[in-house]
Structure formats: structure tokens, C-alpha cells
Amino acid sequence: MESIKIKKITSVWIITVLVLFVASIVLGILMRLNQGGALNQAPINFYSNMTIHGLTMIGIWFVAGMAGINFLMERYVKTSYKANLTAFILTVIGVVMLWVITLVGKFHVAWTFLYPMPFKIMWAKWATPAFLVAMSILSIGWLIWSISMMTQILKKYSIAQAFAWQHFTKDPSVKTPPFILISMITLVGVITCLFVAVVLMALYFAEFLSKGSFVNDALLMKNLTYFFGHTIANEMLYLGLAVLYELFAEVGGKAKWQTSWYVALAWNFTLIFILTAFFHHLYMDFVQPEGFQIIGQLASYMASLPAAAVTVFSVWVAVYRTKIKWSLTNLLFFIGVAGWVIGGFGAVIDATISNNVVLHNTLWVPAHFHSYNVMGNVLFSLAFFYWFSIQFTEKVVNERLSKLVLSLLIIGGAGFLLAFYLGGADSIPRRYSNYPAEFTSAKPLALVGAAFATVYLIPILILFVTITKRCIKVLFSSR
């Protein structure tokens, strides 16, 4: 009985994410077309689109990761259907509110909503309080979900076991599956950054309700904003990795990966580094104490180390000269890891303060984070979606279609990202609705980006149709 429920809610999550994903890609393409001069949107529409594009993408790939680990976690512990459903309902309410606020209310603060911009009303008056309410609803919904999952893990594993600390001893009596370890590490990070969101919203509400008698500190608010924003964007990638750890070997017909002492150590360190890496968003705020800036650079470097050395190498070891059953699922994982590594290089370069001075808020920034989303985390989640969809329906897989999907994903993604990287190296600013004339390469690059993003959209639509069809079947089946 319970397993039917989890199947159905997971299907609903997948369909919701895919619908919103396609809509947000279209918004993204419209933005690039406008920047390229092929469209002529009013700046207010461009920036409203930009705001909802960012908010939606962060939101959906976070919940996609959560839905993924929730489904797979049923293999180890029982999870709470109620929490899952609550999160879904609150997410839908929050997302619908955000779309109305941005597209009807013309609320255009970018997804980072840097203080004090939400209070400098340049949109419908109701939009600011509605935005704060929507963000609070999302934070609370996700907080309930993550704490509930953490609770279920802790029912079976002690804290030490959940963090795999017993693997530091010679012969651990209890083995912690890597999936549980990574989920646990990620959930603690997620809970932390959602608490940050709660604090941030409380400070916003305090100022909003005080009618001017209480004013926030801009530096603190910026720190909190990126503590929340950067961390959740980073953690959603790790949710995707947890799924990869669980499924990559299994789909390839190999023995499941085991936790070893250094896997445990690497992921435990990741938890610490990921919570301090956000300082790199404030490099150009010279007001931030220098110590924090240097911690930011070191933590950004270190955050890449354990994950890269352990995960990437594990994937290599699993593939190198090994007979493996390749399918769309593990190919998406494999390509996703490559995209993640390449985006990681872009990120490490940008996380270097002396480079950041000429890269900060240029197109290099969307270049690198789109790399490990468009060609990384999205592929991890799509791999899960696809794998999920063929578990409970007919397993007829069209090999040619799979090849087409992968080729178009790679071509579209690579071209789309390259336009961003070249633009970043050409000093073109990000978040400009129209480019000043002196950036001669900006418009052509934007059009190239739009064209390749359209190529990327084709396989997404193919996957959308095939996966959604199967998920709808799951939804209406009684088994």
C-alpha cells in the first residue's frame, strides 16, 4: 500500500518538475533572444522573466533531488508520506505565488533579491509582502520534508552511523551505505540553509512590519542571502550525487559502491566547506572582513576536493576497462559528471579572488553555474526520472532515440555554455536586458546561446513526453 503512494507522489513530483523546467527554459531562451536583439521586451518584462527563471530553476532542481532521494530512501528506511505530500502542496502554492508575483505583479528583484531591493517598490505594491510569504511557505515546506527524512534516517542509524564515523575504525561492525551518508550530509546542509532562509525572512518581515523604525544591515543581509542561496544551489547538486551513488553501479550491472574511511571523511569535510564557501559571493564587497574572503577562497577550493576526488574517481573506476551495461540512465550520469567537472573548473577559476575582480557578475558566472546545472545536476535528475519511469512500465527502450537525445543534449548544452564563457571572458555583464553598443560580441553570442539552448530543449521535450507518459501511467495504475 505504502509503496504505491510513494510511487505516485514521486510521479507527480517528476511531472511537475518537467513542466516547470520546459517553461523556464523557454523563458531563458526568450531572455537570450532579447539580449541578442531578436526580441524587444520591455526591461521590466525581461527582469521579471529573469527573476522567475532563476527562482523556478533553483526550486525545481532542489525538489527533484529531494524527491529522488526520498524515493530511493525507501530501500533503507521508511519515509513519511505525509511530509512528502505536505512539501509538495506547499511547493505548488509557493511556486504559483512566485509566478503570479513576478509575471503579474512585475516583481523583478532577480532570484537573489538583494536587500534592500525588495523594499524599493518598482512593482505592484502587494508583490513584496506576497514574495516574503511565498518564500516563507517554500522554506517551511522544505524544512518539514528534510527534517522528516533526517528523522527517519536517525530511527535506524545513530548520528555516528549516519555520518559513517564508524568507518574511521579498523573493522566497522555496521556499514553505512554511501547513499545514506550523502543524504544525511546533504540534509543537514539543507536544513541549515533553510534555517538561514527563515532568519532572513524574519529580518525582512521585521523591517516590513516596523514601517521604517527598524532597518537592517546591508552587509549582514547579503551574507544571509548567499548563505541561503548559494548553499541550496550547491546542496541540490549533492542530492543528485546521492542518487548517482545509489544507481550508477546498479544500472551498469555492477556491485553496489561501499563506504570506506576516506569516502566518509571526504563527505564529512564537504559539510563544513559547503557551509562557508558562500563567502565567495562577497569578494567584491571590500567591507567584508578579509579573513572571511580568504576563508571563502579556501573553502571554495576545498569543497571541490572531496567530492571530486571521491565521486569522480569512483565513476572512473567503475567504468575504466570494465564491462558495463550502458543505458540512457548511466550515460546521463556519466555525461553529468563530466559537465560537473568542467563547470567546477570554471567555478574554481572564478572563486579565486584575483580572478574574480575581472569575472564577478560577468557572463562567466552564469557560464559556470549553468555548466553544472544544465550539463550536470539536471542530467543526474533526468537520469533518475528516466530510471524511475521504466521501473514500473514496459521496458521497451528505443536505442536510436536515446542516442539522439544524448547527442542533442551535448551539442545544445556545449554551444549554449560556450557562448556564456566567451562572453564572460569578453567582460560582458550578466543580468543586462540589452547590451551597450561597445560590447560588439554580446549580441551575436546571445543569439548563438539562444539557438543552442533551443537545440537543448528538443531532447528535453522528448524526455518530457516519454517520461511523463510513463509517470501518468504509474499515477493511474492500482499496483
Partner: protein, 180 residues
Amino acid sequence: MHQNSILLLFFFLMGIALIVFTYIFFSSKKADQGMSNPLKKRFWFFLILVFILGIFASVTIPNSPYFAHAGETPAKVVHVAAAQFIFYMSEQAIDPAKPSGHPIELPANEVVEFRVTSLDVNHGFAIYDETGRLITQTQAMPGYVNRLRYKFDQPGKYHVLCLEYCGIAHQIMRTSFTVN
């Protein structure tokens, strides 16, 4: 130029990654016993990464902009107040109640200091040279002053663009100054 070497480094690293991933992918087609001694290899891989990143950090951190021209007295100070959607630049302090600016001329090959603040939301203060290259930047934050020191070695006209999204006219918020 800085950006070119960054792009070159990125392409180099990307190339290596692509070669490794492609090679490993095709190696699975002619499978044998798999990687020998992966644990030991992983350890070395990790150590090399730590080593490279350690060098990278120790070389780059001292070049951070916070330490630029720290021990010198600037030849000229320019006060900058950013506001939606305009930059005020003046050699006199700017009164937020009635901000005003004037055309700025700066000496070449001498340290100048920009004292940057914001009168409303967060803004960016990014200096572009005549060829449209971003050469340095800082942020403008309400309630704080950021001090950016720079030595211009090329005379000419420089543009300032806002590089922190600040609202509907962010893309046209700009000013310029000359270096003689």
C-alpha cells in the same frame, strides 16, 4: 591580458577533462579486469589535486584587490555615490541629501582611490577600459564605503558600468572618466 589567460586556462582544463572522460568511456568497450589498484591511484589523484590547488591559492591570494597599493598615499581621491540608476563622481565628498557630481580627470601612473558607496540598493562599480575590457571593480553597498585603489597605466577614456543588478534600468546605469 588577464581574461585571455583565464579563458586559456579554462579551455586547457576542459580539454584534459574531455580527453580523460572520453578515454575512460571507450575503455569500457574493450573491457578486461578494470583499474588495477584503484585505491592507491585515488590517493595520488587526491594528493596531486591538493598540491595544485594549494599552489594556486598561495600564488593568487596575495594578488587580491584588498591589498593593492596599500602602503601608498593616493594622488587623487574620487568619491563615488551610486544610486538607482546613476553614478555621482566627485573630488569633493558627496552629500546624500543633494548628491551631485562633476567630470573626473585622473593622472596616469599614479595611485588613485575610489571611495564607493551607495545611496539606495547594492550596485557595482566596474571600470572598463577603451577596448571594453573589465579592469577592476568593487561593490557599492548602502551604509558602507569601499575603497578601491588602482594605478592606470594607459591614458584614455574609461567607462564605469553597474555590475550588481539594481532594477529596471540597471543596463543603462553608467558613467565615465578620463585618464591623462
